[in-house]
């Protein structure tokens, strides 16, 4: 038992950093004061992040609350995992609302309310770089509809037509008379207004705030320790659990000998699940230490004899077997068969773990008629529905409190940690709040990994060095089938083929065949930032480089010859300019280019490397250009690009999960290495936006969370080739002995 003068650290941090205000609803909205900071006048995200589950009296609608002091609370339906949507969506709301941006606070929208109010916040699913591009219409509408009601309320008060009034900076003005009312004076009436029709949302040419460079809303709370992640949940009487799943995925628990922990301090119980063991204690460290001391017997089943070498061979062998055609333009087979100038190569990549910095965790309080969940989730709504089913409750009896996510990258979407937390609470009959926290080892071994794959690519060139045909066969783990064996019944899983058939930045290759074989093992696979592009862009863009080399063409010019898409060319042109493409480099240096069409944007990189005599490679600089058409906040888009380069570079240089005796071998950052400051290149990010409309005639919005992950591996491999004449066809690079490779 702790005996401290200061019972609760939150009290200290709040006293030091935070000014507390009470909303009309009686709810608390926290805003940060940062005296002395250069940008004290920017809005901030609060430390208490989730919205009340009941409608607040200050609400104009579910998206907007206006307090009597004219401060505005905006509800964000998406998770904030670093990608910046928690700052971007409020900008879209504020743009339409015409409020004072400096007077805005943000909350994560209530999941429970979404369930009770006909999905007013829609799917609440933060995946696939779609936080803006799939939400902007209804988010803008939320702001526009609130503004129209405020204007209508003012017009009614003045008994004038609404068209003669204007809203700006949180004030409605009657243009001709000059009369004005603040939003805070109008909110009560506005909430009662019924409009004949909802107002139109703005088009990009009407934006004032959106598109400008703005600070993040959560930089301050993430720089003073006050931002609350799921792992920081502290409820009264809370217990902590550490869990270990069967080392072989799909295996079962046989028995547990807990004699070694008998009488240990703080241990409440050992809970056995079908495929896992958990220890519940009053302190996480005690729970985890006790878990490590248990003698556990597992049955891994038939999979317990498998290993990575077997899998790699099986994926390579599969390339000679039957394929499902996923792209077939022209007659690639015939053209290549008749060509004298054919390039062919086999490439392969391993399993990868997500390794979010915050290990997966969920805190649950399970009662007979109510389940509270505190966690950070990319799919809060779906997780809440799953939890309701598992707990035997109605969806509206589940209260999901969305926290900040300490990284997502695709891992925090299927709710494995939540499922286990509920199962442990049920099996242990635990009636107190229970935080299940995965140790780093559990987090890495029990991941759903980026699929393993192999690919064979053939391309033929005309006599004057033009690419005339591509013939590609791929064997890859299917993400869809891993989640549901009945999925992808036609043999096509788009996540396996994006970047080698669909979703390529080139449109001028007339003969193109892509065949796909979905091949799964017992190892679960799932979405990993940039998904299929994480391996397929490495394949495709390395091979394009091989073809350019065989054609005797400049790699950038060769790519230009493959496309007349405005977005691809915009990025290539920007890359040429920012990297000073073609300029001389010192001896031992190389420069490589790569281009991807990934999750809603064109991302391109030029990487520069140095290679020493021992074959050691240092990536010195990366120029990253992106065409995401329209963007909300260039500052945060650039941050995504900078970070995506590093995320992809870690995979390129170091990333691999090996399987031995059926079990993932890497379990922590000592064996699963990350790029750190010393090996992080300088990254220059730039936007090359072409704007425009989509095929519905609506503004084209990009997705920027993943397009900068996909290209980097090939850009670096191509730079190494440029420096050494040696081609990397298998990742990670740490396994490549450059000095032993033959120059091509």
């Amino acid at each position: 038992m702790a005996m401290t003068q200061t019972k609760n650290a939150e009290t200290i941090s709040r006293r030091q950093f935070v000014v507390t205000g009470t909303t009309l609803a009686g709810g608390m909205a926290l805003g940060l004061m940062v005296p002395g900071a250069a940008r004290a006048a920017t809005p901030e995200m609060g430390t208490r992040y989730w919205a009340d589950d009941l409608a607040a009296p200050g609400e104009v609608n579910a998206w907007v609350v206006i307090n009597p002091d004219d401060s505005v609370i905006l509800r964000c339906p998406m998770a904030e995992m670093g990608q910046g949507t928690g700052s971007g969506l409020p900008m879209l709301l504020a743009e339409e609302l015409e409020c004072d941006w400096k007077n805005v606070k943000v909350e994560f929208a209530s999941v429970n309310r979404n369930i009770r109010e006909s999905n007013v916040y829609r799917d609440m699913l933060t995946v696939g770089s779609r936080g803006i591009r799939s939400t902007y219409e209804y988010v803008q509408q939320g702001g526009a509809s609130a503004r129209a009601r405020l204007v209508a309320a003012a017009a009614a008060k003045w008994n004038v037509p609404a068209e003669t009034c204007e809203a700006a900076k949180g004030v409605v003005r009657h243009t001709s008379s000059g009369r004005s009312l603040r939003y805070g004076q109008l909110v009560a009436d506005a909430a009662k207004i019924t409009l004949a029709a909802e107002p139109k949302i703005k088009s990009p040419d009407q934006f004032k705030l959106v598109g400008t460079r703005q600070p993040r809303l959560d930089s301050a709370v993430k720089s003073n320790g006050s931002a609350k992640y799921g792992i920081d949940t502290r409820e009264a009487g809370q217990l902590f659990a550490s869990i270990m799943s069967c080392p072989v995925p799909g295996g079962k628990l046989v028995s547990v000998d807990d004699s070694a922990i008998a009488g240990r301090r703080g241990i409440k119980q050992v809970v056995k699940l079908d495929d896992a063991v958990a220890v519940v204690a009053d302190n996480y460290w005690r729970a985890n230490e006790a878990l490590k001391a248990l003698k556990i017997s597992w049955d891994g089943g038939a999979a317990a004899t498998t290993d990575s070498e077997q899998f790699a061979q099986a994926y390579r062998d599969a390339l000679d077997g039957p394929m499902v055609t996923v792209r077939n333009d022209g007659d690639a087979k015939a053209v290549i068969g008749a060509s004298k100038n054919v390039v062919e190569a086999v490439y392969e990549t391993p399993l990868l773990a997500h390794a979010t910095m915050e290990p997966c965790n969920a805190t649950v309080h399970l009662k007979a008629d109510r389940l509270d969940i505190w966690m950070g989730s990319q799919s809060a709504l779906a997780n809440a529905m799953m939890a309701a089913q598992l707990a035997g409750l109605k969806p509206e009896q589940v209260y999901f409190h969305q926290a900040y996510l300490g990284g997502g990258f695709g891992r925090r979407s299927n709710g494995d940690e939540l499922r286990q937390a509920i199962l442990v609470a049920q099996a242990g009959k635990i009636d107190k709040p229970l935080q299940l926290l995965w140790s780093r080892e559990q987090d890495m071994r029990a991941d759903r990994f980026r699929p393993q794959s192999a690919i064979r690519m053939k391309g033929s060139l005309t006599a004057d060095g033009k690419l005339e045909a591509l013939y590609i066969v791929s064997a890859c783990g299917s993400i869809q089938r891993s989640a549901d064996p009945k999925a992808a019944s036609n043999g096509i899983d788009n996540t396996s083929i994006e970047g080698i058939g669909p979703s390529v930045p080139y449109n001028k290759v007339t003969n193109w065949y892509t065949g796909s074989l979905l091949k799964n093992t017992h190892i679960p696979v799932s979405y990993w930032r940039s998904v299929g592009g994480s391996q397929n862009t490495f394949y495709m863009e390395s091979f394009i480089d091989e073809l350019a080399h065989a054609a005797g063409k400049d790699p950038l010019e060769f790519r230009r010859s493959l496309t007349d898409r405005a977005d691809s060319l915009s990025v290539l042109n920007k890359l040429a300019e920012m990297s000073n493409w073609g300029s001389d480099l010192p001896k031992g240096s190389g420069r490589g280019i790569s281009l991807a069409d990934n999750h809603g944007a064109i991302g391109g990189h030029v990487a520069e490397v140095t290679v020493d005599a021992s074959g050691a490679v240092h990536v010195t600089r990366v120029f990253a250009a992106t065409d995401a058409y329209h963007v909300v906040n260039p500052n945060l888009v650039e941050a995504q690009i900078e970070g995506g380069v590093i995320f992809g570079l870690t995979a390129m240089l170091y990333g691999e999960i090996n399987i031995k005796n059926g079990a993932p071998q890497q379990s922590n950052f000592d064996s699963y290495r990350m790029v750190r400051l010393a090996d992080a290149p300088d990254v220059k990010a730039a936007l090359a936006l072409t704007g425009g409309s989509d095929d519905r005639g609506k503004p084209k919005w990009g997705g920027v969370g993943e397009c900068s992950v996909a290209p980097i591996a090939a850009a670096v491999a191509n730079a190494i080739f440029h420096a050494t004449g040696k081609r990397i066809r298998s990742l990670p690079f740490k396994n490549v002995k450059l000095t032993e490779l033959t120059r091509l």
Binding site: Q5, P35, A38, M81, S223, M357
Partner: protein
Amino acid sequence: MATLTVNGAVHKLDVEPEMPLLWALRNEIGLTGTKYGCGIAQCGACTVIIDGKAVRSCVTPVSSAEGKQITTIEGLAEHGKPHPVQAAWIAEDVPQCGYCQSGQIMSAVALLKQKPKPTDADIDTITNICRCGTYVRVRRAIHIAASSKA
């Protein structure tokens, strides 16, 4: 009974002497700004400053921290004013997911104590992991903090 001085406040804790400081901070004292990331001194998310030096609290037993001045992320600001490193972090919008940033900031503060004008090579000695890849801005913010302290 262990006595810890954290951010100037004295805490008497009834914990095992071998309990890592991280878990005493997070679970017993309630200071959750210091994060768990690996438990084996690899990632640096748990970095705190003990007697002026950056320390990985996940492998530092409570017993070895007794009688020393422990500073966590919550104790960096003075009179409500962010530490220059925090101010630089905010000005540069360094954080993305933010989970590692308490540790990054504590490492940067400790570095600047020893090297007030760090070179890029000095900054490279910080081994904290950021999975979001904020290193470009971490580096920039450290240089800014160094110049603002002058």
